[in-house]
Every structure is written in structure tokens, then in C-alpha cells.
Amino acid sequence: MGRTWQRWLTAGLVVAASILQGCVNATVDEMTFLEPTEGIGDASVVIIGRRHAPDYETEFDFIECIGDHIRRGDNSISVLHELEFINMMYPWFEPRTAPLRTDDIDKLLAQQRVADRFEELKLEYMIWIDGSTVETNSSGSMTCGVGPGGAGCFGFGTWGNASNYEATIWDFTDEIEVGRISANTSGQSYMPAVVVPIPIIAPVQGTACDSLGDQLLKYLSAKM
């Protein structure tokens, strides 16, 4: 009887841990123009993170998350892989050399090999993502122990995360900026533990990725 009860409790905790999520507040601001109403055809898009600030850098996995979100929403949109693109264009998209304004595109295209590579890639839009996710607060304590009879934890921990990202869309053909979308999200995660810790994670970065991804998809896709 006791064992069955224990099994049900463990199974219940595992299910609860996988279902429960912390709450996330999200604010999305959008300002876009010159939308490609017919979609982008066989042209391609690249999404790149800004990494020139001294105290933070836009996470590679966040950029990948947005790219995947767009590909899932409309598989006709060709989104180039960020790291492959940066390697292909080395040394022109390193933190030191990456163009900061649309005026810098001309300087890039003055290099014949760079211009040829862009043409080969049929690059139509370059989307710069600037921002990061940080931990804003944390408190609580938890103690875990292992003994001959088993292992277990007891305590409570909580922490907050905040994501601030801004996407800047450049039309590469016309060499102009055609939009800015920002997503600010925040949330509190909790981890109560009575024998088994139950993480109640607030998907702060994931929500920021979905929010930005949705807006970018709406802008680029002819289907939306």
C-alpha cells in the first residue's frame, strides 16, 4: 500500500513538474513598413545577434530559436544559419567589423567578393537582434541529502528573469531599415522541494522568442 502510494506521488510530481509553468509578462512593440506583401519568394533572410557590447551578448541559441520559429511558421522562407553565415562572411560580421547602420552596407559591398557572396545567397533581409536575458533576483534555500534509505531535498527557491530584445530589420536590396520590433518579458520561477524538487519555470526567454518570432513571421510571410 505504502509503495503504491509512493509511486503515485512520484508520478504525480513528475507530471506536475512537466505541466506547471511560472507566469510570464510580455510586452511587444512593433513599427514596420514596406512589408513584402507577396512574401520574399526565393530570397533569403539572415538573423544575427549583436555582440559588441562589453557586458552582454545576444545568445546564439536565442537567434536559433527565432530562426526555427520562422521556419516552422512558413517553410518557404529560407532563413540562413547564423554561425554558418558569419563564417562564410568572415571577417565582416565579427563584433569589431559588423555594420552598425544601413549606411555601412555600401562599404561592405565595395568588396567584390562580399558583393558576389551576397548575390549568391540571394540575401533580401538582414535582421539584427540586440539584447539578452538576465536573472533579476533570487532567494530561498534548499538542502539535499543522500542516505542509505534514499535521497531527498527540502526547501524553497525562487528567482526572476527578464528578457529585453530588439529586432532591427534591414532591407538589404534597398539598403534601408524597414522596421523595429521589441519584446520585453519577465517572469518568476519557483522550486519547492519536499523530497522531490518541483521546478515551476517561467519560460521568459522562450516567450520573448515566440513573441519576436511571431511578429517577424507576420512581416516576412505571405501566408500570414
Binding site: D55, Y56, E59, Y90, P91, P95, R96, R113, V114
Partner: protein, 247 residues
């Protein structure tokens, strides 16, 4: 405690306890040892129109085997050994071969003589300084590497060979001598070890050095003058003083 663990290993009753003891001892010993990073990475060829130059490159032993050893400041810290030599040579070979029409690796006097009349200039890179920080040092969740390079360029005729095949040059005969800095950082990441993070920061720093070199090379005043004068190096101070004495 170590004695007790060793005792457990030798007299353990079953395999599980023996393995657990060995693992614990290894963990304890690992915490005491030096942390070693042999920098490794994939470096892309630069996308640029190659300069119409045949460049000779001399990697000194100090450069090709470059490493930095940092002794722990306290019991809570570890010694660090960061070996960048192999990565430096691999990276600069890739960069130079994309930046210049032809690149010749000069290993000794014989290689030098074999390319007489074909080399426009010889470059000698050196790591003048390398500093690193990890979150333990700074309390910031970023691993950083900062490097300072010193590049020297000389005309083919100014490189001489010694009796033992070693290459020598009079320090006054370099027609260009400049420094260049590079910086690489990487944030902390889930399940990423300190060694992996330092390696990543070093690779970013190398790439930054390459970006800096590629975009500034032709703008270095001595190089710009040399290129605008049809690749004729200005007379060196040694040659000038010799001429003055002769005169």
C-alpha cells in the same frame, strides 16, 4: 580522508564501492590539479580580394609554442595553463593565405634561400601579452581573453641565416613594426566547463585579431608607404647610418 578512500579501493567488498571510491579520489585530485586548455577551433578563410603580394612568414618557436601559465592566487583557485601556440599557427596560416596572393612559410635558412627573388616581404608575428579572466576572478558571468600582438615586417634581403640554419635580423632593419590588440569573450552557459569557456573566448579573440589585422593592415602608415612606393622598403636606420659613415 584520502587514506580512508585508498583503503576502500584496496579492500572494497564489491565493484560498486571500489568504482565509487576511485571516482571520489579522482574528483578530489582533479580539484587540486592545474586546469589546462589547449586552444582548438575551426577558423574560416577571410572573404576578401587577396593583396597582390607574396608574403614570407616566420613563426618563432616562442610563437608556435605559445602558452600562458597562471599560478593560483589562493587555495580556492586552480593553476591555469592556456596553450595557444598550435591554434595561433593554424589561425594565422588560414588568414594570411586568404589575405595575400601567395604565402611562403619560412622555417630555416634553406627555405629562405629557396624563395629568393619571389618574396615581397617577410612578416614575423609575436604574442606580446595575453590576459584572461574567469567569473571566479571578476564575479561577472563572462570569460574573457585579451591578446596583444606585435608584428614586424622586413625585406627579404634583411633576413640572414646563421651557421646553424637559424634566421636572424638586425632589429633596426624592420621596415614596419606595429602592435595589434584582440579581445574575446563568452558568457557562462549551462553545462559548460571553465575550460570549454576559456577555449571559446580564445577562439573569439583569435577571430577578432584576424578581423583587426585584415581591416587595418593596408592602413598601417609604414605598410601603406611601402605599398605605395612599389613594395620598396624605406632605407633602414642601419643602412642610413652606414651610408653616412661611408660618405
Amino acid at each position: 580522508m584520502v587514506a580512508r578512500l585508498l583503503d576502500l579501493i584496496t579492500s572494497g567488498r564489491n565493484r560498486f564501492w571500489r568504482l565509487l571510491s576511485v571516482a571520489t579520489v579522482m574528483l578530489v585530485l582533479a580539484a587540486c590539479g592545474a586546469r589546462e586548455v589547449v586552444v582548438q577551433g575551426n577558423f574560416p578563410k577571410p572573404l576578401m580580394d587577396p593583396l597582390p603580394l607574396t608574403l614570407g612568414v616566420i613563426y618563432t618557436d616562442e610563437f608556435a609554442q605559445h602558452e600562458i601559465f597562471d599560478e593560483a592566487a589562493g587555495r580556492a583557485e586552480s593553476d591555469w595553463l592556456v596553450k595557444t601556440g598550435d591554434a595561433q599557427v593554424e589561425f594565422w596560416n588560414t588568414l594570411f593565405s586568404g589575405m595575400f596572393e601567395d604565402v611562403v612559410l619560412i622555417r630555416d635558412h634553406d627555405t629562405l634561400r629557396a624563395h629568393e627573388g619571389t618574396i615581397d616581404a617577410i612578416i614575423i608575428p609575436a604574442v606580446a601579452d595575453l590576459q584572461y579572466t574567469i567569473p571566479l576572478h571578476t564575479n561577472i558571468k563572462i570569460y574573457e581573453i585579451w591578446m596583444k600582438y606585435r608584428f614586424k615586417m622586413a625585406a627579404f634581403e634583411d633576413i640572414h641565416g646563421g651557421d646553424n640554419g637559424e634566421l636572424t635580423i638586425n632589429p633596426e632593419q624592420y621596415f614596419a613594426d606595429w602592435t595589434l590588440t584582440a579581445y574575446g569573450k563568452t558568457p557562462t552557459a549551462f553545462l559548460q566547463s571553465d575550460e570549454e569557456a576559456v577555449n571559446l573566448a580564445a577562439v573569439v579573440a583569435l577571430r577578432d585579431a584576424g578581423a583587426n589585422f585584415a581591416t587595418s593592415f593596408a592602413r598601417i602608415p609604414d605598410i601603406a608607404a611601402w605599398m605605395s612606393e612599389g613594395l620598396q622598403p624605406p632605407p633602414s636606420e642601419a643602412a642610413e647610418s652606414q651610408e653616412a659613415t661611408d660618405g
